[in-house]
């Protein structure tokens, strides 16, 4: 399968600390890649860099054979990349439906002023919201939802982008089992459609169940990579989590 995105010796520094330390990553379409590692190992920072929210300090990102040393947030979507946020960044004072429509509608200013495809977008929104079970709550403001529901909305928003590369930052944390099943289903569907899916996840059972490939981060470095079985058996990985 094609490599949709890779990073080569990617670096992100904060002062003297390497939050991302010469990371080499390769994301293939049609595969679910897990990013695991103890807290503070740089997983979210890595995602922030790849999605343009933090500047690249070293190395580069290769998307479709194009080498990039700078990514702006507004370019990210055009590269087919989308993401969820660990601490959920929905538009709280807007309705559930509007949060989804926001990512479906015309991006350019003139088109947005005179939106032509409202019906079509509404139909798409309905489909995705029904899949996550939020269609009934579509007119409620995002902030009035429960944590789990907001999480589902965040995921639904990313899925609505119909992207090629998805970064899900701890999508399962705080979800009830039924919701976990829904999200797993969605992630598998994305894989089936040929997208590259990246999961930051702490639940090892889910990692084993879903991930095709794993990268283990510790202190900004990739200390191990491979299939989940292979990686979770390695001594250094166990140590990274439990301490020596």
């Amino acid at each position: 399968m094609k490599t949709l995105l890779s990073t080569r010796r990617l670096v992100k520094r904060f002062g003297g600390v390497h939050a991302v330390d010469h990371v080499d990553l390769s994301l293939e379409g049609g595969k679910i890649t897990a990013l695991i590692g103890p807290n503070g190992s740089g997983k979210t920072t890595l995602i922030n860099v790849v999605t343009g929210m933090l500047a690249i300090d070293g190395g580069d990102i290769v998307i479709d054979s194009v080498r990039l040393q700078r990514i702006r947030p507004s370019d990210v979507a055009s590269y087919g990349i989308t993401r969820t946020f660990q601490n959920l960044r929905l538009i709280q004072q807007m309705s559930v439906l509007d949060n989804i429509l926001l990512v479906l509608t015309e991006r350019n200013i003139w088109g947005a002023l005179f939106e032509q495809h409202t019906k079509f977008h509404l139909a798409t929104a309905e489909e995705i919201l029904k899949k996550v079970g939020l269609w009934e709550k579509r007119n409620e403001n995002a902030e009035s939802l429960s944590y789990g529901q907001r999480k589902l909305l965040e995921i639904a928003r990313a899925v609505s982008m119909e992207a090629r590369i998805y970064f899900f930052d701890e999508p399962f944390a705080g979800l009830f089992p039924e919701m976990v099943r829904i999200v797993s289903g969605i992630i598998r569907e994305l894989r089936a459609s040929g997208a590259a899916v990246v999961l930051v996840e702490h639940d090892m059972l889910l990692v084993r169940e879903l991930a095709d490939y794993c990268y283990v981060l510790d202190s900004g470095k990739v200390i191990a990579e491979g299939t989940p079985e292979h990686v979770l058996k390695q001594q250094n990985v166990v140590e990274a989590y439990l301490g020596k």
Partner: protein, 288 residues
């Protein structure tokens, strides 16, 4: 009756100002303390073109709106990329500088003397000299402004503005050029402020730079805060309240000087009390 019509006209003019600033500040979250500058540009454009060249009011108004848009575009290009606090200060600075220009560019604006003898609007031979007729005209302007405001806020464009208000980085990551959206709405807001200015100039038949200072920008800001962020209707009602209430003070028997200051006390107290007890204003859709 004449007096009521006078109040109504002023309320309408401030209504237009309120609606236009709401687009920028209420919907998009861009705290702009320079709206009076665009108000002034519209007024001066009309004054200059009507008195100096006898140009038709409606054409002059259009010219004023274009001028204000151009200036707003320039200001926006410079400041809209900055962090919020710096952007706000930048707008204050712009207002101060524009005011200085109005005050000192004597050859064009006649400086502190202001421009007088501005005629009322005329179209197809009919002149809006009567205040009643003028009121109808300005009401039409309010209606048009409100209609356009609704068109914007109910569109996908408006949705994007509301999202930018809350979390512009997220909006950016999902594929929007946030900077350009801000630029566009800032420019549109300025254009309608100029429209209000045009009406002010023609109504009062005399304008001076002192009506367009930072203090006036702050007053317009209060209208939006009182009306509530994200509500054109709220802005209209607030404009009415903030124009009418001080006039009521007049009847309490203060001298004109003191009445003017009591009006300020009232505005200040309204702001403080609003923030303490109802920060979302009258009809606000968003909390500050």
């Amino acid at each position: 009756m004449e007096y009521l019509i006078h109040i109504a006209v002023l309320a309408c003019i401030y209504g237009i100002l309120g609606i236009s600033l709401n687009l920028v500040m209420g919907e998009t979250g861009l705290i702009s303390v320079t709206h009076a500058a665009f108000y002034g540009l519209g007024a001066y454009a009309v004054a200059f073109l009507l008195v100096g060249f006898g140009i038709n009011f409606f054409l002059a108004t259009l010219a004023g709106m274009i001028l204000a848009s151009g200036v707003a575009f320039a200001i926006g290009v410079v400041f809209l990329r900055l962090k919020e606090v710096y952007y706000v200060l930048g707008t204050v600075g712009s207002n101060v500088i524009l005011f200085s220009v109005l005050l000192n560019w004597n050859s064009v604006t006649r400086g502190p003397l202001g421009i007088g003898g501005i005629p009322r609007p005329e179209i197809f031979g009919f002149r809006f000299s009567e205040n009643e007729a003028f009121l109808l005209l300005v009401l039409a302007a309010v209606a048009i402004t409100y209609a356009i405001s609704v068109l914007i806020t109910r569109s996908s464009f408006g949705r994007v503005l509301n999202a930018i208000r809350e979390d512009e980085d997220v909006v950016s990551v999902f594929g929007y050029s946030v900077y350009h959206y801000k630029l566009v709405i800032f420019t549109i807001g300025a254009a309608f402020a100029a429209l209000a200015g045009a009406f002010l100039a023609s109504y009062l038949t005399y304008i001076s730079p002192f009506s367009f200072t930072v203090v006036e920008s702050i007053f317009i800001l209060s209208i939006v805060v009182l009306g509530g962020l994200g509500s054109g209707r709220g802005a209209l009602i607030a404009a009415g309240i903030l124009v009418i209430t001080p006039e009521a003070l007049r009847f309490v028997g203060f001298t004109p000087d003191i009445a003017a200051q009591m009006r300020q006390v009232l505005y200040g107290l309204i702001l403080i009390l609003l923030m303490l007890y109802r920060p979302q204003g009258l009809l606000g859709r968003f909390r500050i």
